[in-house]
């Protein structure tokens, strides 16, 4: 008979007797009673290793009063989860791409940065993407010519490639069809393709798409592109000499921001751009006279495109010169005062609602812990419901002409989503780059094949005034409010 003490975890069991005539398994059974660890899970350290179940006590040389150490738990044994975990490294390339949070860049095929940046900007419009994916490959409607069809298909393919790929995509097919459709992009200079104006590419591409994406039923409303980008303007044309006045409406895809000496801010430029003078024959005077044209926005698009008119034809040097003037633009644009009276009325209710929501977010939350929070909360809850009552009529008035989905309303407030910048001194030279806001809120700069993450505060620094990238075409996305 030996008496030993056994240390297990932090506990010490004193005075355990070992009957050396019986195998160690019996000893383990003793320990099982004390610790609850089944014998097969017990590990008892003795000189020269672990205590075996069938070992001979005399060979082990355990002395009376010795301290033994036991290891082992009755814990559950860890099992691998049933469903194997999938690691990013194992995924196919395209799934890795979605993990990245942004899509791939485009390879520069030789002065094609104007095209690359345009494509990247347009690609950021999900509605355009879905419209394209609905476009049938074969079913070309008769009023779309072959080249437009091919360009539309190429656009669709390119957008798809971009989403699937991790590495930069080469837009060769797209470029070929683009040049086929618009031969002006094939101009050569010193055997190289010339740099082109991104604005021209943007306008032409969008026009082509709007033509080909028109629903076969061919009604004005089903024009997908127009619904997304189109701005209806109502203009008052006024002749000061004769006092004649007429009004006309037109639809444009972008607003122009004219840059003159007074313009420091986008808003001023837009206002400037909506006023113009034109010469036309006055029926009253029987000769050409100067008419003043003042336009106001009649309907709002989902995506508001603004072009900074930075390039003008300089006659003395015979080239497109660039205005380097700094024109600030905001991340959040409110175009309420550029809207027509009718539109303003429609917008008022949703705007109020938006303000309330924001106010709730900013102002009421901190107060919620105060005593009178109950009262305040009910106040806040009542206010919008009243508003809702009033505005329901307004919403009905909007009717079919509203481009918004049911239940959501335009507010006239827009958030910046893409910036297409130009760096250099003339439109046909320099470098175009696209800066695109992702759904995650991150800004990505697409410099041809190199996408890189940018900070939001750097985006507003693209406003010009130096030789840095400066905004040329910017696009805002409408902010909706649900009623």
């Amino acid at each position: 008979m030996l008496t030993v003490s056994v240390k297990w975890q932090k506990k010490v069991f004193e005075g355990i007797e070992i009957d050396v005539t019986l195998p160690p398994y019996v000893f383990k059974a003793q320990l099982y009673d004390l610790t609850g660890v089944p014998p097969e899970r017990q590990k008892i350290m003795v000189k020269g290793g672990l205590l075996k179940d069938d070992a001979d006590w005399s060979a082990i040389g355990v002395k009376d009063g010795q301290k033994l150490m036991m290891m082992g738990t009755a814990d559950e044994i860890v099992k691998a989860p049933e469903k194997a975990i999938v690691f990013a490294e194992d995924l196919p390339e395209e799934e890795q791409a979605t993990n990245l949070g942004y899509s791939a860049g485009l390879v520069n095929l030789g002065n094609t940065c104007y095209m690359n940046s345009t494509v990247q900007c347009l690609k950021s419009v999900p509605e355009l993407k879905s419209a394209l994916s609905n476009y049938s490959l074969a079913g070309r409607s008769n009023d779309v010519d072959q080249t437009s069809h091919m360009l539309t298909v190429a656009t669709r393919e390119l957008f798809g490639d971009l989403d699937r790929s991790v590495n930069a995509v080469s837009p060769t097919q797209f470029w070929m069809t683009l040049r086929k459709k618009f031969p002006q992009f094939s101009q050569l200079q010193n055997g190289m393709h010339m740099q082109q104006d991104a604005e021209e590419c943007w306008t032409q591409l969008l026009y082509t798409l709007s033509q080909s994406l028109k629903a076969p039923a061919s009604s004005e409303d089903s024009d997908a592109v127009k619904a997304l980008f189109g701005v209806n303007l109502r203009s008052r044309v006024h002749c000061q000499e004769s006092g004649e006045e007429s009004s006309e409406t037109e639809s444009v895809y972008s607003l122009k921001c004219h840059i003159s000496h007074e313009v420091n801010h986008l808003h001023e430029g837009l206002k400037h751009g909506l006023k113009g003078e034109l010469e036309k024959t006055s029926p009253a005077l029987g000769r050409t006279a100067v008419y003043l044209k003042e336009s106001l926005i009649d309907s709002l698009p989902r995506y508001l495109t603004v072009q900074f008119v930075r390039f003008f034809w300089k006659r003395e040097t015979n080239q497109k010169a660039k205005i380097l003037r700094k024109v600030d633009y905001p991340l959040e644009l409110d175009i309420f005062d550029l809207c027509s009276e009718d539109l303003r009325k429609k917008l008022e209710a949703p705007r109020q609602k938006l303000r309330d929501e924001e106010g709730k977010k900013l102002g009421l939350q901190p107060k919620s812990s105060s005593k009178d929070s109950d009262v305040k909360m009910t106040d806040a809850a009542e206010a919008p419901s009243n508003e809702g009552g009033e505005s329901s009529t307004a919403a009905q008035q909007e009717g079919a002409s509203s481009s918004s989905e049911k239940g959501t309303h335009m507010t006239g407030i827009y958030d910046l989503v893409t910036v297409l910048t130009h760096k250099g001194r003339s439109a046909d030279s320099g470098h175009y780059v696209a800066w695109v806001k992702q759904e995650s809120g991150k800004w990505i700069q697409y410099d041809d094949s190199h996408p890189s993450i940018q900070r939001e505060e750097d985006i507003t620094k693209l406003s010009g005034g130096g030789d840095w990238h400066m905004a040329y075409i910017i696009m805002y996305k409408a902010r909706f409010v649900s009623m």
Partner: protein, 894 residues
């Protein structure tokens, strides 16, 4: 007034004399000037001058009585004036012109007491007159009367000492007797030691190679400064002088029963005989406990035998301290006091929210690489705390989160994940084994391998009679799965580093020469043997590794892991200097692919921490060569540079500067190693200049340079929580967010910086930078060698080599305990350490201090001192565990 005799004319010595006179007194040349000066003399001076001239004349008088009287008076005058030595004493000045005369006269004098007396005076005069290298002062001294040496003033003695040193070297080369000199030396040493000039006494004795003399002359008042000077000068001496010097210091400490210091030196000399002697000569049990704490910090295995402590219970208690069983408790006491017990997640360390806009980009799918990084970060940050948020979460919650995290690692990643549990429960063997137990029953080989490795990590530095690590791991050494084998082998290497355990050797050695064993198993076996026998010069282990190296095929020699074989061999000789030579000879016969690598590794390991300038030059010469591609031996040469030079501050700074050069002119393979060398030099010591260099290199175009720079940034900031490095790494993490490999390195470095939530250090140096823990250095060096080929080892499937760092991980704390070893809190001042070696008086040893209550953290280069008289610390070096004894003389001020 008598015309002033020109010394040059009076002197009979001829041309040589003339030279020397002009040499000694530059303003002598124009006579006019002298006349002018003469006029300026005050009445007193004039009288003195005339008297002296009279004496000189009288000395030459034939009447011996008169001579004697004159000599006596002359001596009186000189002695009266040489007590202070701010300016040339007047009598000397006035006697100067007569030096030649007296000298000549002395020459012709018959042997007599008078001649001796004159010799004495000439000896003093020679202090200002003698030509360089003539040692006239000494010459006359030896022929003089040999009276009290100090009576002539301090400056005289000092001058004499200098001349003795010269004379001694000369006589040594001529093999002449030095006995007469030694008599003088004794007098001088006695004088110096009495007059607070211990440093000069030591210098003189070192020059005449007779330090033993010192023992007779040290006393309670001056032994401390003497020893201080001895130990710090030892760093700059070439072997074997340094050992000699330390031996003397040891003996002095023993003589004055200053055992803690004696123990320090004994540990430095790696002399177990001395350690034992300290235990046997000390009778106080409490002090012995303090010794045990010191030994345990050094990380060596010492068995307390009955001779050292008679009583069995006491012996067990001391052995427990040496075995580090209380380390975990002390560390947790510190952690609770500083309030950092709360577990941290890798996200707390990455602080991604401080980076703009990228925080939200958390990928929806787990990346195995990033999860592995998180595993390591989690392990290092929560090391030793016993709790974390990934691995130790109760497994019942939602079918086992712990299990979940483990399986969020891929294949070999699971090994590191399971092993991380050992790191989290570091030093707490009971809890560690309990937690790891469940993985032992896993059927998944990588998990089992991780559990084995985890046991090794868990037991790192902790020894136990039951040898749980050996008992558990032993049976897996020959497992058929090589990953399990590696886990067991590496675990043993970590758990038993420095223990020289024969049982493990007998089971690991056969693997080395097993033709069937895969290369990686052999490599890790060699490495583990190197660690277990670190600095032991064990012949048998060396033989097995050498044979294993010779058996490797050409292809295997090209494998990245092969580098662990020479490294294992090198570790055997860590810090053992010449002992490596025989093995270095053998290594010359190796295949040329590995020969030079082996050479460099052996050289650098053997001289690691010695500061040997010649070896530094050897290694620099290696780095200077521009080689054909494919040679890899320059990497270890650069690392070796740092290993050799890291021991003391001056050499360290020089090495940093040389590395800058190497960086500019070296080839790419050298540039990759330079950041690692910098990391080693400043490990856990974030020097700003090194930080800047590494930060620059971390953006290098060569990604391997960048990787090693990033890892090194982590190493220099290891355990410091340094905000600047943390910021740099955060920015790097966004800079390299797309490059998985570099991002992995950044994450690892972030884990290093916040290691142990800032309570740990990786520095192998301790006890005020005097002692170098061999196991700690072995761990770091192994990691650095692995980093030389980052892509195939750490970024490959052997990432668990990162865990070798555990050998160097130590709490950077100062914890005071009372006589019952229970923590007590006392006020201490913590400040920047000041080097007070060789300074007069009792200078302050710290500057810019702040007062804290213990336990406190000590940063690199900081020192603590007790801010109360209530207690007396049992060790003068306030680091780690310090036992406090109540001061019997203390009275409360009230």
């Amino acid at each position: 007034m008598a015309p002033v005799p020109d010394p040059n004319n009076v002197g009979g010595g001829g041309g040589a004399k003339r030279d020397e006179a002009t040499m000694k007194v530059p303003s002598k040349d124009p006579k006019k000037k002298d006349d002018k000066k003469e006029d300026d003399l005050s009445e007193e001076d004039l009288e003195l001058k005339q008297n002296l001239e009279l004496y000189v004349e009288r000395v030459q008088d034939p009447n011996p009585e008169l001579q004697k009287a004159a000599l006596e008076s002359m001596r009186q005058e000189i002695r009266a004036s040489t007590s202070s030595m701010t300016s040339v004493p007047k009598p000397l000045k006035f006697l100067r012109p007569h030096y030649g005369t007296l000298k000549e006269f002395h020459q012709n004098m018959a042997e007599s007491d008078l001649k001796k007396l004159l010799a004495d005076i000439l000896s003093v005069l020679a202090l200002t007159m003698s030509a360089e290298g003539k040692r006239e002062s000494l010459g006359y001294r030896l022929t003089g009367s040999g009276g009290d040496i100090g009576s002539w003033g301090h400056e005289y003695v000092r001058n004499l000492a200098g001349e003795i040193a010269e004379e001694y070297t000369m006589r040594q080369s001529e093999e002449a007797s030095v006995e007469d000199l030694m008599d003088l030396v004794k007098q001088i040493v006695a004088f110096h030691m009495k007059h607070n000039a211990e440093t000069e006494a030591v210098d003189l004795l070192m020059d005449v190679e007779d330090l033993d003399l010192l023992l007779a002359h040290v006393d309670r008042t001056n032994f401390r400064r003497t020893c201080n000077y001895l130990t710090s000068s030892a760093k700059f001496l070439a072997g074997p002088d340094d050992m000699l010097v330390l031996d003397i210091a040891y003996m002095i400490y023993i003589k004055f029963e200053e055992y803690p210091n004696a123990l320090q030196i004994a540990l430095f000399l790696d002399n177990m005989q001395y350690v034992k002697q300290i235990f046997t000569s000390c009778t106080d049990l409490l002090r012995k406990k303090q010794f045990c704490y010191m030994i345990s910090r050094h990380g060596i295995t010492v068995e307390i035998d009955p001779e050292m402590v008679a009583d069995k219970d006491d012996r067990d208690m001391l052995q427990d301290i040496v075995n580090n069983t209380k380390l975990s408790e002390g560390y947790l006491t510190l952690a609770r006091d500083i309030e950092v017990m709360e577990a941290k997640t890798p996200e707390d360390i990455y602080k991604a929210h401080l980076l703009d806009g990228r925080a939200s980009s958390g990928p929806s799918v787990d990346s195995a690489r990033q999860n592995l990084a998180a595993t390591f970060v989690n392990a290092f940050v929560n090391a030793g705390f016993g709790q974390d948020k990934l691995m130790t979460v109760p497994s019942d919650a939602a079918s086992g989160i712990a299990g979940n995290w483990l399986f969020k690692n891929k294949e070999h990643g699971k090994t590191s994940a399971a092993a991380s549990l050992g790191m989290i429960l570091l030093w707490d063997v009971d809890a560690g084994l309990t937690q790891l137990d469940k993985y032992f029953h896993s059927s998944d080989n990588p998990v089992l391998a991780g559990a084995l490795l985890g046991v090794g990590i868990n037991n790192c530095g902790i020894k136990s009679d039951c040898d749980p690590a050996l008992a558990l791991l032993g049976e897996y050494i020959d497992n058929e799965d090589s990953s399990v084998r590696i886990g067991a082998i590496m675990g043993l290497g970590i758990a038993y580093a420095g223990s020289q355990n024969d049982q493990i050797r007998s089971s690991l050695s056969p693997i080395l020469n097993d033709a069937k064993a895969p290369l990686d198993v052999i490599a890790f076996a060699a490495l583990s043997l190197g660690m277990i026998y670190v600095g032991s010069c064990n012949e048998e282990v060396a033989q097995s590794i050498i044979f294993a190296l010779m058996d490797r095929s050409e292809a295997q020699l090209g494998d990245a892991l092969t580098r662990f074989l020479p490294l294992g061999l090198g570790l055997l000789y860590l810090g053992k200097q010449e002992s490596v030579e025989a093995t270095a000879e053998v290594s010359k016969t190796f295949n040329e692919k590995i020969r030079k690598y082996c050479d460099m590794t052996l050289l650098s390991c053997a001289y690691a921490g010695t500061g040997n300038v010649l070896k530094v030059q050897d290694l620099l010469a290696q780095c200077g060569e521009h080689l054909e591609k494919g040679d890899i031996h320059q990497g270890p040469a650069v690392l070796g540079l740092a290993m050799v030079a890291m021991s003391e501050e001056l050499g360290l700074d020089m090495a940093i500067r040389s590395l800058e050069r190497v960086l500019q002119y070296g080839e790419q393979n050298i540039r990759r190693a330079v950041p690692l060398a910098l990391g080693l030099l400043c490990i856990s010591n974030p020097k700003v200049n090194v930080m800047d260099t590494l930060s620059r290199l971390s953006h290098d175009t060569d990604s391997e340079v960048a990787m090693s720079a990033i890892i090194s940034l982590g190493l220099i900031g290891a355990g410091t929580n340094n905000a600047r490095i943390a910021g740099m790494l955060r920015n790097l993490s966004s800079y390299y967010y797309k490059d998985a490999s570099l991002l992995f390195c950044v994450r690892i470095a972030q884990g290093f910086v916040h290691m142990g939530k800032g309570l740990l250090t990786l520095s192998p140096f301790h006890s005020e930078r005097l002692l170098l823990s061999p196991t700690a250095l072995a761990g770091i060096v192994t990691l650095l060698h692995a980093c030389l080929d980052m892509k195939s080892i750490i970024l490959g499937k052997y990432h668990y080599v990162l865990y070798f760092l555990v050998l160097a991980m130590q709490p950077r704390m100062m914890l005071t305990v009372d006589e019952n070893l229970k923590p007590i809190s006392v006020p201490v001042r913590v400040g920047q350490a000041v080097d007070v070696v060789g300074q007069a008086g009792r200078p302050k040893t710290i500057t810019g201090f702040q007062t804290h209550s213990t336990p406190v953290l000590l940063a690199a280069g900081e020192r603590a001192e007790l801010a109360t008289d209530k207690y007396i610390p049992l060790s003068p070096i306030l680091e780690g565990f310090i036992i406090l004894k109540e001061n019997p003389d203390y009275r409360d001020e009230e």
